[in-house]
Symmetry: D2
Amino acid sequence: MRKGVIRPGHVQIRVLDITEALAHYRDLLGLIEVETDSQGRVYLKGWTEVDKFSVVLREADVPGMDFMGYKVLNSDVLGQLEEDLKAYGCEVEEIPAGELNGCGRRIRFAAPTGHQFELYAEKEQTGKWGLSKVNPEAWPRDLKGMKATRFDHCLLYGPNVEATYELFRDVLGFDLAEQVIDPEGNRAAAFLTASMKAHDVAFIECPEPGKFHHASFFLETWEDVLRAADLISMTDTSIDIGPTRHGLTHGKTIYFFDPSGNRNEVFCGGDYHYPDHEPVTWKAEDLGKAIFYHDRVLNERFLTVLT
Amino acid sequence: MRKGVIRPGHVQIRVLDITEALAHYRDLLGLIEVETDSQGRVYLKGWTEVDKFSVVLREADVPGMDFMGYKVLNSDVLGQLEEDLKAYGCEVEEIPAGELNGCGRRIRFAAPTGHQFELYAEKEQTGKWGLSKVNPEAWPRDLKGMKATRFDHCLLYGPNVEATYELFRDVLGFDLAEQVIDPEGNRAAAFLTASMKAHDVAFIECPEPGKFHHASFFLETWEDVLRAADLISMTDTSIDIGPTRHGLTHGKTIYFFDPSGNRNEVFCGGDYHYPDHEPVTWKAEDLGKAIFYHDRVLNERFLTVLT
Amino acid sequence: MRKGVIRPGHVQIRVLDITEALAHYRDLLGLIEVETDSQGRVYLKGWTEVDKFSVVLREADVPGMDFMGYKVLNSDVLGQLEEDLKAYGCEVEEIPAGELNGCGRRIRFAAPTGHQFELYAEKEQTGKWGLSKVNPEAWPRDLKGMKATRFDHCLLYGPNVEATYELFRDVLGFDLAEQVIDPEGNRAAAFLTASMKAHDVAFIECPEPGKFHHASFFLETWEDVLRAADLISMTDTSIDIGPTRHGLTHGKTIYFFDPSGNRNEVFCGGDYHYPDHEPVTWKAEDLGKAIFYHDRVLNERFLTVLT
Amino acid sequence: MRKGVIRPGHVQIRVLDITEALAHYRDLLGLIEVETDSQGRVYLKGWTEVDKFSVVLREADVPGMDFMGYKVLNSDVLGQLEEDLKAYGCEVEEIPAGELNGCGRRIRFAAPTGHQFELYAEKEQTGKWGLSKVNPEAWPRDLKGMKATRFDHCLLYGPNVEATYELFRDVLGFDLAEQVIDPEGNRAAAFLTASMKAHDVAFIECPEPGKFHHASFFLETWEDVLRAADLISMTDTSIDIGPTRHGLTHGKTIYFFDPSGNRNEVFCGGDYHYPDHEPVTWKAEDLGKAIFYHDRVLNERFLTVLT
């Protein structure tokens, strides 16, 4: 949090059928359905998130990610970062308060990878779902499905990962937690964090801009990863890979697809990062083990199926 | 235990290099090394097993399983089963006491699938490894690797699964716990038990006789399956598949290969069976899900790589 | 299963208020409510049990256990055991088929500890709750509360534990899996099994006959024990002790009380037993560690609060 | 990290016998022994910590905590905080670089609760123990005992918790993550964080200044808490309470004592905190549940046994 960026606050995902998507994100992942706005977008959140929402589903003709937003400390920080982005050469678009229900003014910019990002300082805080603010129980009793606790991060594919890393580092104050370096010394992947989490966003180099690899949600335990895997099977949901562990971050994970073909991850554990830590490096020659620690080979799908 | 057969007591596995094999079964699986006999065979056991040994490694030119042995209640039972096997038409070979160190007289016969099985009534009981018989602690502190608790079962491939099932049922008193039925109503797989365990041996139909699919060892928890997976990666051991769950028995599992190419499984959990239970049936059309509950497809290797 | 006794099949528990008790056993323990009979008794079962029911709640003025019943292999076995019990000197009462809905003829006798036991050969098998008999999923999605999988055993207090052990061993074919021996060499506790489970019933010596210490239900994992503990707190249920581990059997456990003051246990794990195993011995001087492995002291309540 | 304080970096604990203490912290907790300095102090660390050490044991006549130190971003931050502390009215002592092996210049001050705290900007980074910086495995294979991953926080008892909270908030930039409020509205306990962790230090009001309640170490899973509990029993270590869960932070925990009577905690899980989160409040009337979520009563020992 060198520059006042706190955390990933929301992601807007394009889905082909909003009803099917809602069933997936609410009933299977176990996100809490919050409300539908006047544009027909559906808002959801993980039960541990104090903010009103973190996932927005928008019906569209093609799947993918519209944008990802970060919460900053306050409106002074937001103003400063707006100036800094412009000074860095970014075109900054202003989205007025209320365009997303319960969310204040957002400023939007494109990263060199071709993805849209937003910053905002205000969002309604409705508290952890199902728990009292005083003497809160350990968890709410009415959770569904995978019981995803929070939206955690996205992995995005696009060109110019290096320039994007520099923008996130220099303007937004992110740290490089983990990286993949190819034999020529180029950074093929960058896992960036504004906090103790191993990644608040990650990028992998790819020629096509603005591609969405997955949105990831946090679970509490490896038992919960098994439960997620069982539910994927019971609901005939398309699986990508898992349960397994990553080499990068060492998180315990499973990947699957929403009905529109967007990839989701649920995971638990994983390394922590502090701003004085050296980045962890994986060699591109060992990318199989870096991504899938147990199999030590990549499935082609993981590298090529994007939305 | 309808006829006095208690449990799988030992398996003798052929390995190409006894030193490499010992490193694998002792240091990676965490079996306890017991001793080497005058033939150069190495004896091992899981730490919870009270018997002197349960795994015998024999150096040979081709990998595979020599035989699998079952402990019976006492020598009267052994004598009766010997008569019953002969009456059933089996050729019974007698192995004198002491041919395996610490093991009494064994009677050996071939199943119609082409595998060698043994029965015996006596084996030296050295107690659980590392624990006192009085006030035993929860576990011994010096376990290695995967900390495999016991030899659990084998899965064997061969012809005449139906006839083999009948032999195990009618002569040895095993129950059919789970089965795979093909569209013509034939039994393609039979999981047989003499106890509450989901399988004390399992057979899958295949034209070639006497093939060895895997020897399986029991772990305590799903965390231990993850630990096994991590160790497989750390030791550059050849993995087959997992961590995952089976549809059949619902055990949580991982498969990998010993240095000779013999497949091993370590698993935890799984259904229990009582002798008045109907067998659980999986359809051959859904064999993918029956074997690998999460992926719902078989990898070719699982069906064809045998020793 | 030396004499054809398969497993604990049911326990009838006296409760002061049937509605409160049902809420406890169904909503908190997560047992499946099956039906209410013409006497107002409520039948429940754990979701993995294939039999129609395993727990019967009867409203009464004092809490405690009415009787515990065991399933035997078939009616020939039942007839034989009836003769054997009489020959042993037990008074045997016959309960006609249908007195418990869906249960065949039962024979009832008193153990020297003053507890009523039953044997029966027939009970309607409705299958595992919520799962298909063909291609069964790993677990049903609609489980509640602690998701107790099955009724496992009872611990009973009374005089003449030694004579009761002899009756169970000699007539019913149970094995002594674990025991507590006092400095004079007397058996202060006996854990008896007819299967691989560490106990299908347990007795502790106490002057007053027929006392009920607890009914125990099986969970799958240590995570489930934590979940049970959390639910006990969330529902303001009276806790006895846990989460902890036993020295005896090494099961992982938590104890609490139903609204009538009957003690319940839910636990997972624990040692397995085969009929050729020596019993495990704990010294009465170390009873604290034998019962509560971590604290190594008994709470007074555990020894004195009985129903 | 509002003011550049990153994390708890070390704690110096007084022990009565350095050899016994080392056996406890190294062999039981599983901390890595780093070295012994010229004063005879022993340095240790958790295996995930990149810094050279985090725990210092000093032999002394009375147990307790000498001081707790925090790492700050850089020497400019250190200089600024030194000025800020003085401006706030704190007496600041300078400890020269090298007084602790491998640690740069430290500035020390007393909190109003009577505890000594330190800040420093430099400490040798030796990396995670047993892992490569490139392609790191998931964990090192030679860990001992409880496998504690890192020093996490201390809980300290003393007067003036409110003034101490203000100092940590206003000068050091800590947030109030959780609190206990008594019926008069006074803050009886304050859990403070400089990061996403639920607490980087915690204070409970008590008349006697400078008392040490416990030093806490992080584990990965609830299975590891069980393992810790088993090891406490196997080594006849004095236990306080657990395994259990806290209401405050919802961490899963166990407490025990080192041979000098200093209390230790190992725990896993627990809530996360971001700087825009409202503090979680527990009522002092419900302190039992706040501290021990399952038992919902305090043991006297927890409140009164301090070093």
